[in-house]
Amino acid sequence: MNTLLSVEDLTVEFKVSNGKFKAPDGVSFKILENECVGMVGESGSGKSVTALAIMGLVPKPQGKIVKGRIIFEGKDLLKFNNHPRGTKISMVFQNPLNSLNPNMKIGKQLSEVLEQHYGMSYKEAIGKVTAMMKQLGIPEPEEMIERYPFEYSGGMRQRAMIAMAMLCHPKLLIADEPTTALDVTIQAQIIQLFKKLKLESKTSIFFISHDLSVVSQIADRVIVMYAGKICEISKTEEIFEKPLHPYTAGLISSIPDMKERKTKLRSIEGSVPSLIDPPAGCRFHPRCSQKMPLCMEKEPDDFSVNDRIVKCWLYKGVYQ
């Protein structure tokens, strides 16, 4: 399969009141055509900023892309004036209520995408809007277009957001924690919806979540982020079968197992380091159970293990 998007050495620097930090910090990965790539990591690890950087929407003036390239269809989006956001690349956000204009009817909020990019009139666009809403499981779309976001339920709002993102049949759909703000039952429905989109459309999906079990249900490959760096990139089955990076292993063992209810919930010892003054060497070493003296001194390289990539000294020369 061909590469659709290639992120190379992406580094975004943020200025805050007590200093500077970088998240993401030198992140590289690829998304292939028709592929769903999941990205997991704790909050503050740089997942959302990576997504915003691809969209060309890093918040200014606090944030600045200081290094890297984002190649989409052969062009570097960071140097390209005519960013294809809204057409070839679109995005769904975490909180659908805040992400929709509270004083505009849903129909208009969706149709204006087509009006802007295809020069359609509202009348022409609204037909396509209702068709897309129907396809994404919004009942009675002809009536729903006349409603405001506050009249929608949480799940319906997120469906409307996804419909909005899919209107121009994008090559890449970025979903930043699309299920996090929803009830568990609605979460399952929205995940089903993404699965359906993956099968039926030719859209690649970049699915961000802090929840590894959510990502595992939909992603072909998983990128694990920790403190602004990628620890591991693997196929979804492989990462569950045999996690390579100690952090990934910790994440997987922290997923509660319904069969062993008596045991205490497992967690990774310690907490995420401050990115303003990150630990030397591997950023995970203060919490790592397998750390070696080398880990505290030198940042690990990216090691290829079969088709997988892992940033950990344990794998130096193992399968190379």
Binding site: T87, N98, S99, L100, N103, H117, E151, M164
Partner: protein, 318 residues
């Protein structure tokens, strides 16, 4: 929607009642017997007694209030003791001047204040932003009468561009009237200009940081469309409330402005009434102004409901 408007009107009734009661009580609290004040120190005792009877001042206070309430409700605000005319007639005669003054001041405040606020918000933390913030602060802090006199000195006395005082004469053409209103409107409008600029700026800044603005960018909309359709429309909703409150301030400010520029409006009438102890006139005018203020706020609430879909949908087809 009709139900909402009706509900708001009903809510006005108790407010009106308390306003009438307050105005009545304030007048009672003023020390001194109005009959004695009005008839002067040389008045004979029996004249004072007769006058007190005429005004109903000899009756118990509750009875006096009921009589007053009845009169007010039938539109009778009493007779001015100096002008020897109905207070309401006097007020209505002078109302157009004050309304013209207030509305042109508001117009100035809107056409200057809103754009300044928007520009400052869009260039947040820039030199322009700082400049607007300082100008707005000056506008809010400057005393109306002082600013009015500076305007007269500069534009009438030194430059001779615009007339200083009076109403102008429509028979000399429209410009004569308009030119007489320019300086007073500026003097009166500067306070509201500052307030509206500051409020627009903060409201716009808040909206620009909302998630739905990020969504609008993610949709690939043009920047002008995002600013106008998504940001400005949402930012101006709270500004409307402030504009309504400004109308009240403008009515109050008109008292000073009309005095400085010798405009025969409600403010001037009030000042004259106070200086000449025309207590019926003052009472009537205070009540009238309070009622205008209540109804302006009612109008703002109704307009607000029309532009706020939450309220509109709540009362839709009920």
């Amino acid at each position: 929607m009709a139900k909402y408007i009706l509900k708001r009107f009903v809510q006005v009734i108790p407010t009106l009642f308390f306003v009438i009661l307050t105005v009545f009580l304030i007048m009672k609290l003023i020390p001194g017997d109005p009959a004695m004040v009005l008839l002067g120190p040389q008045a004979r005792a029996e004249d004072i007694v007769r006058f007190r009877q005429q005004l109903g001042l000899d009756k118990p206070i509750l009875v006096q209030f009921v009589i007053y309430l009845k009169r007010v409700l039938t539109g009778d605000l009493g007779r001015s003791l100096i002008y020897r005319q109905d207070v309401l007639t006097l007020i209505l005669e002078r109302l157009p001047t004050t309304v013209t003054l207030s509305l042109s001041a508001l117009f100035i405040a809107l056409v200057i204040g809103i754009p300044l606020g928007i520009v400052a918000a869009m260039k947040h933390n820039s030199f322009v932003d700082l400049l607007v913030t300082i100008l707005a602060l000056i506008g809010i802090s400057i005393p109306i009468f002082w600013f009015g006199m500076i305007l007269i000195i500069v534009f009438s006395l030194k430059l001779g561009w615009l007339p200083a005082v009076g109403l102008g004469d429509i028979s000399k053409g429209l410009w004569d009237v308009v030119s007489h209103f320019i300086l007073p409107s500026l003097a009166l409008g500067i306070l509201s200009t500052g307030t509206i600029a500051r409020f627009t700026r903060s409201s716009m800044l808040e909206v620009l940081n909302q998630d739905y603005i990020r969504t609008a960018y993610a949709k690939g909309l043009k920047k002008t469309l995002i600013l106008y359709r998504h940001a400005l429309k949402n930012a101006l909703i709270p500004v409307i409330t402030v504009i309504g409150l400004q109308l009240g301030n403008l009515l109050a400010g008109a008292v000073l402005t009309e005095t400085v520029f010798a405009l025969p409006g409600l403010g001037k009438l009030m000042v004259d009434g106070i200086f000449r102890r025309d207590y019926m006139l003052v009472q009537g005018e205070v009540l009238f102004t309070a009622i205008v203020y209540i109804f302006v706020n009612l109008m703002v609430d109704i307009i607000y409901a029309f532009i706020n879909p939450k309220i509109r949908q709540l009362y839709r087809s009920v």
